[in-house]
Subunit: 330 residues, 2 copies
């Protein structure tokens, strides 16, 4: 049994808190908003970000981030765009033996940095790991089983975190390919838009399976060009996460693509939404990365052109279908 | 434009005939049953195996297998268990320059041979290739797009077949890993049963994505042990086919697993079915292969025990969830 600190009380942070508390760990979760702290501690419910789930008594909420950081393992679950800010606050206040596990997903807009790169810049001496994989927060909070990738350059750290977090609802698998482990989750939302388009147009399951597979090939090419390993993308962090994101209307990016495929305009769809559709931003960032690392990403490029360069949905589909024949592993 | 012969007029052979005829090729399809030949030639419909699809005029059916074999490219689409018999009939009657493309999927029960192994035994001098990937016949026949893997040891043959078959509804990708390309489609049905069980039990999308991913890892381990390449399984023939089979009630194996998960007994489910649920047989064959090649296949083993050794569905799920933590790429 461990003492686990969780920085960030959004849906995913709350789901992880519930899963780990249910497994018997002591959990302290930090929330930015005082009303979230109060609602967790007094109502045993995160009414702002996870209404309807009755939280385990072992979860303690706090408004003091440094208090949550004093634990055996600390999970960082703030939105990707706030990770740098969070680390600046934590710096100098985390015990040297405490591994920090980044559970957010994404690329820092502006810099194009991976979250591990932000971590290395902001807290170069700390032990970081990445937790990623196919995990809808709603299912994890309900106690349904899932499996995740734990990536850390230091294999012992990865194993220590796996052993610390493993329980009969959460199965971790370790890898030392930190870069490869992050690319899948960072890029998947763009592929989910492409799959949504195919789905919205009624092009069938064969086409969707093909698009997921060729999307994976693009992601693996990018990962390899950035110093990761292609085969890491065969794991939960790659194909696992991609399957989930490209198969369910619960994914905002997939449902966004589906609406495009059905003929709605981008502005119209986004205008109706409160939450961010990350793939739209990632598509832009990805074009910069593809160019920088000289990687051919035809599906991502098609999505980009469809969103920002007035390529019609029909032209986009035609472009995805009519690419020249090529060997499969390139 | 090519002249294409298709040996076998089941659903998949008929769908391929329609797809290739629509792309402008001349197609001759061989059917075992005279009534199928008549129905295709006179009614422009395969009333036995594909009712409801109006067939292209360019499709000519024949009851003479050797007539269908006299073409630029010959596709072999008989059921896997009949491939050996078909090749014995064709032997000596196929032009040396005609590539033979095996479009069936499966393992020969009894011998445990891959279809390429049967081909090498029966017609050692012929140029064989494998066509595989995520393809529901019903969608292909309707003119919906798909992508496939073409595998041949001789890269020129693979490329020649890709170029010959490629059209805007069928995108082939080539590989020279003939073994790797076959393992995915041969084994996927067992994984589909496992995914069906998870689905039937209501364990959620996270668990299904995790199971598909870990299923892929098992398949890749087996492929590598048999002399194929792990990375081939990242392609359409591997993860592509697996996604399709593990995601849709159109898959007989997935729906069989789902019924098991909901509490029905195997005998009860199979008794109601006319068509074969291949995964049930493959599960047996796979245990022999896993042992022969010394490969750890925990998911396949669990399915086997669930089908043949009275392991309960709940015990099966517990066993799939509680495996020891391991590195992801093993």
């Amino acid at each position: 049994v461990k003492k686990i600190g969780i920085i960030g009380a959004g849906a995913w942070g709350t789901a992880l808190a519930q899963c780990l508390a249910n497994a018997g760990h002591g959990v302290t979760i930090w929330a930015l908003e005082p009303e979230v702290v109060t609602s967790i501690n007094e109502q045993r419910e995160n009414t702002s970000y996870f209404p309807g789930i009755s939280l385990n008594e072992k979860i303690q909420a706090t408004g003091d981030m440094l208090h949550a950081a004093k634990n055996d393992i600390v999970l960082l679950v703030t939105p990707a765009q706030f990770l740098r800010h969070t680390l600046k606050e934590l710096k100098g206040h985390v015990d040297a033996n405490t591994p920090l596990v980044i559970c957010s997903k994404g690329i820092e807009l502006g810099t194009g940095d991976l979250l591990s790169e932000i971590a290395a810049e902001e807290m170069p001496d700390a032990d970081f790991a990445i937790l990623t994989g196919p995990t809808f927060a709603s299912e994890v909070a309900k106690g349904l089983p899932c499996a995740v990738t734990i990536a850390a350059q230091n294999k012992n750290i990865a194993q220590q975190i796996c052993d610390g977090l493993a329980n009969n609802r959460l199965r971790p698998y370790s890898t030392d390919d930190v870069i490869g482990a992050q690319i899948g989750s960072a890029v998947k939302n763009v592929m989910a838009i492409a799959c949504g388009i195919i789905y919205g147009k009624g092009l069938g399951e064969n086409a969707r399976a093909a698009l997921i597979t060729r999307g994976l090939a693009e992601i693996a090419r990018l990962a390899a060009a950035m110093g990761g390993k292609r085969e890491t993308l065969m794991g939960l962090c790659g194909i696992g996460d991609l399957i989930l994101t490209c198969s369910s209307m619960e994914s905002r990016n997939f449902s966004f693509g589906a609406a495009l495929g059905k003929g709605q305009k981008m502005e119209e769809i986004l205008g109706e939404r409160k939450a961010v559709t990350e793939g739209v931003h990632t598509a832009k960032a990805l074009m910069v990365m593809a160019k920088k690392y000289k990687v051919d990403m035809p599906i991502a490029e098609t999505v980009y052109k469809c969103l920002f360069e007035n390529l019609s949905v029909d032209e986009a589909i035609e472009s995805m279908l009519s690419r020249p024949v090529r060997p499969e592993n390139q």
